[in-house]
């Protein structure tokens, strides 16, 4: 006990040297553990979602971008495909197609246009409110609700794609009708709307005054027997309400409307294999992917990088330990006269050894405590860190 008291007094007296030693030991212990934590979380997030998503169909191009966008609503948008892709799977009767359209954002969170089948497929239930029912309604993930303080009855406006896109699509004020239960996945960070609402955000569907009945001359550019041309002043509704929902319409054939990808849920393994076979033609402009295969490839790369980092950390750790040993050896030499004095006042060599051991133990314990604290902080934010570092 006396050894610890004397060691503590010595450490307090040599604050700076102790702080440097504690920082070195802490960092060397913290780095591999923190890395491990992050990798475990990334593996959990990436693998669980990939395993639970049997097949993804999208435009030919980067397989990783397509999977990351469809599963985690990442920022890299793959080329859009047409709604026909959904009908093609539907008609094959091999799988249930679930369209996903992730082009737009609302206050920094991705807007995911899909159908109600997505919620059943991901087993997402509203924790409060209800599911979307009509055009213009949205259901938000648990984190979106918490971060933006949104509750059923609130509203959320879609963000313009570009600040300088003055002639671009009008923002749509969406009604929040439900908040989903926490799923601990990307779904917590998404704003879900019906696919048709996403098309309204894009401007493919819209509601406006009946141009054939306009009486305000400033709204009519030209009127002939069979055509009325409206001016740019014609008011397009930016919020869908009970009163104007009847005026919302889509131009052209919705089979040609864009989506980002289709999640295909085959009836069985055989149906999935047959479906995959239908996308093998050289002239095919769509690709079908098993997300697990793509994510396994990504994880292999991540773990390869981890192995390199482990090697680097090991070398750095060895160098640090050697430096610490050197610091202690030099410290002992500098403290030679002090040790002689302790010896002369009657302490045995064992007592001196105990004193030094106590100093080392205090430094290691302080480093352990600090390292534990830092790991707790990292653990608290692994979800976000993984999204930022690996998913984007």
């Amino acid at each position: 006990m006396h050894s610890f008291y004397l060691a503590w007094k010595y450490i307090i007296y040599n604050r700076i040297k102790t702080a440097v030693l504690v920082a070195c030991v802490t960092l060397i212990a913290f780095l591999p553990f923190a890395l491990q934590l992050l990798l475990e979380e990334s593996e959990r997030q990436l693998t669980s979602r990939a395993v639970s998503t049997p097949l993804v169909i999208g435009a030919k191009g980067s397989a990783l971008d397509l999977v990351m966008n469809t599963l985690y609503f990442g920022d890299e948008h793959p080329e859009a495909i047409r709604m026909e892709a959904v009908n093609r799977i539907w008609d094959s009767e091999l799988a249930l197609p679930i369209p996903v359209y992730t082009r737009f954002k609302a206050r920094g969170f991705p807007i995911v246009g899909t159908t109600l089948d997505y919620f059943e497929f991901r087993r997402l239930e509203p924790a409060s409110g209800r599911n979307m029912a009509v055009l213009g309604e949205c259901v938000v993930g648990a984190r979106v609700s918490a971060d933006l303080n949104l509750k059923p009855g609130g509203s959320l406006v879609s963000s313009p794609e570009s600040l300088f896109d003055l002639a671009g699509v009008y923002p749509l004020k969406m009604k929040v009708v439900g908040v989903l239960e926490k799923a601990h996945t990307s779904d917590d960070l998404a704003v879900f709307v019906d696919l048709k609402t996403a098309w309204v955000i894009q401007g493919l569907g819209h509601g406006h005054q009946d141009v054939t009945r306009l009486t305000d001359p400033s709204l009519v550019l030209k009127r002939s027997g069979s055509n009325v041309a409206a001016t740019a002043k014609l008011y397009h509704y930016m919020e869908i309400s009970d009163k104007n929902i009847g005026s919302f319409h889509f131009h052209g054939n919705t089979d040609g409307y864009p989506i980002t990808a289709v999640i295909a849920v085959p009836a069985d393994e055989k149906s999935g294999t047959i479906l995959q076979g239908r996308y093998l033609s050289k002239n095919e402009n769509q690709q079908i992917l098993r997300p697990k295969v793509v994510i396994d490839g990504l994880l292999q790369n991540i773990f390869r990088i981890k192995n390199v980092l482990d090697a680097v950390v090991s070398v750095v750790a060895l160098a640090t330990i050697m430096a610490i040993v050197l610091v202690f050896a030099l410290s002992l030499r500098l403290r030679q006269s002090e040790i002689q004095t302790i010896f002369k006042i009657g302490c045995s060599r064992l007592t001196i050894a105990k004193l030094l051991a106590a100093e080392i133990m205090i430094i290691v314990a302080a480093s352990g405590f600090l390292c534990g604290f830092l790991l707790m902080v990292v653990n608290r934010f692994t979800n976000d860190l993984v999204r930022r570092l690996f998913i984007g």
Binding site: L116, D117, E120, M132, T212, N227, V228, A229, G246, F248
Partner: protein, 301 residues
């Protein structure tokens, strides 16, 4: 101890029985089916028999094509086992609500290429889209009874997909319904073939499939059977008669006497052909259609 073990052994078959009976009940529970109009309800009930519970949540006095559901109605549609849509633009509310595609069957999708397009005469333009008209589709597909039988077949297939163990029963019920529908189709063809070029006027523009299927020479006005025609409507009819000298007007329902009298003065007789979009007050789809056929006989005699 032995008694305790014996009671456990007795408990096992009881639990097994309860488990099996629950599973069997889940299979035996009638499929909860929601539809958008009466013909689909009739077809689904004929095909599904006791294995389906079909609901048309539209009030009896409302034409289902113009009905707008409340949020609670949409919620009910979202919860059922199967949603049967007519397709061909029938019930426009379908385009503005969220329905689970996995449960939704568009019964006319199989003959999408045979849809009849009705274009607005007035085009308009705004924004970058250029000139366009809001095209509509004729939606009373079942008035072509051959197409009606195709819709019934789509329903039979949808039910069989959800209850594969009952597919033979559904198939047999469909064949019986198909026989009835095609018999009616044959009777109409026989009736109109005697004089199918005779000009006729329809009180409402909902008979496009009927006209096309049976090769009729029909034009439409917009008169309501329960309302006396206005002078503007009468003038419009007079204009139409100049190029289309019809002697018969076919109504959706029995017209009020003043309307009959107006037509009578113009030497036009009235006959009813009920499209039967909503549940009839008397009889069912088949009896209503049989009566329609009887009503048609004097028109083409």
């Amino acid at each position: 101890m032995i008694n305790e073990m014996r009671s456990y052994f007795l408990l096992v078959p009881v639990l097994l029985f309860l488990l099996l009976s629950t599973a069997a009940q889940a299979v035996d529970d009638p499929l909860d089916v929601y539809v958008v109009n009466y013909p689909l309800k009739y077809f689904a009930e004929r095909i599904g028999g006791p294995h389906v519970k079909v609901t048309l949540p539209v009030p009896a006095d409302v034409d289902p094509v113009y009905w707008t559901p409340k949020i609670a109605d949409i919620g009910a549609y979202q919860q059922v086992d199967l949603i049967l849509l007519n397709g061909a633009g029938y019930a426009k509310w379908v385009n503005t609500v969220s329905l689970p595609r996995s449960k939704t069957v568009d019964t006319s999708r199989g003959f999408k290429d045979r849809y009849i397009t009705v274009k607005e005469t007035m085009t308009h333009s705004h924004g970058a889209e250029g000139k366009h008209a809001h095209e509509g589709l004729a939606f009373t597909t079942w008035l072509d009874l051959y197409l009606a039988s195709e819709q019934a077949e789509a329903i039979a297939e949808a039910l069989a997909r959800r209850r594969p163990q009952l597919q033979d029963e559904f198939r047999a019920n469909f064949q019986s319904l198909e026989k009835d529908l095609l018999a009616l189709d044959g009777r109409i063809r026989a009736i109109v073939s005697a004089n199918n070029t005779v000009p006729i006027i329809f009180s409402h523009p909902v008979y496009d499939y009927f006209v096309k299927a049976y090769g009729l020479n029909g034009r439409s006005v917009h008169w309501e059977p329960e309302q006396e025609p206005s002078s503007a409507q009468i003038a419009e009819l007079r204009n139409l008669l100049e190029t289309h000298p019809a002697r018969w007007m076919i109504w959706e329902g029995t017209p009020v006497k003043p309307a009959v009298d107006v037509l009578h003065a113009m030497d036009i007789q009235s006959a009813a052909f009920n499209p039967c979009g909503n549940v009839p007050s008397d009889g069912d789809f088949l009896t209503v259609m049989q009566q329609n056929v009887v009503n048609l006989e004097p028109v083409f005699r």
